[in-house]
């Protein structure tokens, strides 16, 4: 028996063996070391409240946040035998995570070998759709192609609470330690270097901290890497998960079992503000969501509030029949980085790396809206950089800069560079009001059969596509050449 206040040192390896087979490590509580009554002890202490066993620990790496970036980092680190603990503030990984719900697997398939075959995906996306929403009419197109039905589909709908929880179990199997219900409130700074975090009020130390704490990016802010997020660079996304009979989903979206559709909406759904709507099919539910620029909705002249915009979207005649018979089971919301390359957070500091939404890795190209695969890849490369740094034992910003290099060589920063003008081009207000109305009005006149004689088609076209209109389109098209 150890004397009170003196804890036997248990290696993380033994610690894990001891608790192998436990489904959830939530029986653990973290307490600051009380040896000699000194709160500023160099080591943190783990107390197994079930067994009264204490173990001291300093980890190689602390990952803040069990989202896709954090879990990917832990997956890669644990695979290389690095001691890593993932701190998650929710009850379980995924319990604080919301996303539209679509992942594109191709760019990350090979980074996580063996992960995908049993992943709890919802449906393979085989049908793409987009709608220009005018006030009283709309113009929709659908796309489908044989490549979307390939043996390995490029994209799946997912529900993150399910997916992340499953991923976290795979990560634990590889040897990472996961601590849910643990909020990281601050970083520990020593000699200008990030030396650990304050979690649940207690100190926890590591050679390196990987901040994967989501779009608000509070940990990098605490570490002095960045200022608070700006309204201009962020959007708010809201989403309902609506339970629906799988056969109704198949029929309404024209897909087979296991297949799904993804549909984006732009125009009157945001009342002219930057943003748009989305509808993704899950196994036995659909995810209906709306994304709006925080800067735009904050403006005095903005029409309505977010909940009202969403309800109006849901009630549209293009949407409501698709949801009939469905039952809303959850209402979620999430901040989405929209600033692209120019508003990325500095990726490394002394003792710290930043990945996923926390770094700003979300990219909206209008046709595709992506974040999850950038999160996974950035988490993976942050882990690789730490593994590299471990060889020299130096974790300062210069040593960790290999993370930036790995991202530059990968699709992540290549995409962000290629599309660095996209946020500006896509923020053209014409896209959210003028063009949807133009398309709607033109089609109205082409489809309408009046009581009297009908105008020649060319006259109808010229009525809408005036010289000044064509000039506007040319100017906007010129901007599009930048992307």
């Amino acid at each position: 028996m150890a004397a009170p206040g003196v804890f036997p040192v248990v290696s993380a390896d033994n610690f894990r063996k001891k608790h192998a087979g436990r489904k959830s490590p939530s029986f653990l509580t973290v307490r600051a070391c009380t040896c000699e009554g000194n709160r500023v002890c160099q080591k943190s202490v783990w107390i197994d409240s079930d067994k009264g066993v204490n173990a001291m620990e300093k980890f190689d790496v602390i990952v803040v946040g069990a989202g896709l970036a954090g879990l990917a980092a832990a997956w890669t680190l644990a695979g290389e035998g690095v001691e890593v603990v993932v701190l998650e503030r929710g009850d379980y990984p995924g319990s604080k995570n919301v996303s539209g719900g679509r992942i594109y697997v191709n760019p990350v398939r090979d980074l996580f070998p063996g992960l995908w075959d049993e992943a709890p995906i919802e449906r393979a996306i085989v049908r793409e759709g987009a709608t220009l929403m005018a006030r009283n009419r709309s113009f929709t197109f659908h796309y489908t192609g044989s490549e979307l039905r390939a043996e390995k589909p490029q994209s799946y709908s997912v529900l993150r609470s399910k997916f992340d929880r499953w991923f976290s179990e795979r990560v634990e199997e590889r040897g990472a330690m996961l601590l849910p219900k643990t909020l990281v409130s601050d970083v520990i700074r020593e000699n200008g270097k990030i030396a650990g975090v304050i979690a649940g009020g207690d100190e926890l130390r590591a050679d390196a901290v990987i901040a994967c704490d989501g779009a608000l990016s509070l940990i990098p802010e605490k570490a002095g890497l960045r200022a608070p997020g700006r309204a201009h660079d962020n959007a708010v996304g809201v989403k309902e998960v609506i339970q629906l009979d799988p056969n109704l989903i198949n029929d309404r979206f024209n897909v087979g079992d296991g297949e799904g559709g993804a549909h984006l909406f732009v125009g009157d759904v945001t009342k002219g503000l930057f943003g748009g709507g989305f509808l993704y099919t899950n196994r036995d539910s659909v995810s209906l969501g709306l994304v709006v620029s925080i800067e735009d909705i904050a403006k005095e002249e903005a029409a309505g509030d977010i909940p009202a915009l969403f309800e109006a979207f849901k009630a549209r005649s293009e949407i409501e029949p698709l949801l009939r018979g469905g039952k809303t089971v959850e209402y979620g919301t999430h901040v989405i980085p929209e600033g692209g390359y120019r508003s990325l957070c500095p990726l490394v500091g002394d003792g710290i790396l930043v990945a996923g939404d926390s770094a700003g890795f979300a990219l909206n190209l209008g046709f595709t809206v992506r974040g999850m695969e950038y999160a996974m890849a950035s988490g993976h490369y942050a882990a690789k950089a730490v593994i590299e740094a471990k060889k020299t034992g130096c974790y300062d910003a210069a040593a960790l800069a290999v993370y930036q290099k790995l991202l530059e060589e990968s699709f992540v920063l290549k995409d962000f560079r290629t599309f660095q003008e996209t946020p500006k081009v896509l923020s053209n207000p014409h896209l959210f009001g003028h063009y949807p109305e133009l398309a709607g009005n033109l089609l109205r006149d082409l489809y309408t059969v009046p009581a009297g004689p009908k105008s020649p088609i060319f006259t109808t076209l010229r009525r809408h596509l005036t010289l000044s209109q064509l000039w506007t389109m040319l100017m906007d098209a010129k901007e599009v050449t930048k992307i």
Partner: protein
């Protein structure tokens, strides 16, 4: 508004021991808070009859939109402690 309350009622919330977001003392009339009235997806910000902004924390989805919309000069903003607040079952 009642529709929104009903919708929030579908979510799983665990009790919050203390409000994790507060309007800073003396900032209750700051015009920057107007943005949160429009932007908060849970409709938790309102203006009282006396012209003060009021935040009701129950139903908070912890998205952080208000922090970005209003700024940290008017809001004291943190996540709830571990294991508290909204727990998404679908996400």
């Amino acid at each position: 508004m009642s529709d929104l309350k009903a919708k929030l009622g579908l979510n799983v919330f665990k009790p919050l021991p203390a409000p994790h977001i507060k309007i800073k003392a003396g900032m209750e009339r700051d015009a920057r808070l107007k943005a949160a009235v429009r932007a908060c997806p849970a409709g938790l910000y309102s203006i009282s009859e006396t012209g003060e902004f009021v935040l009701t924390i129950d139903g908070c989805l912890e998205c952080g939109t208000c922090r970005i919309a209003c700024g940290t000069e008017v809001l004291e903003w943190g996540y709830p402690e571990g294991g508290a607040g909204v727990q998404f079952r679908f996400g």
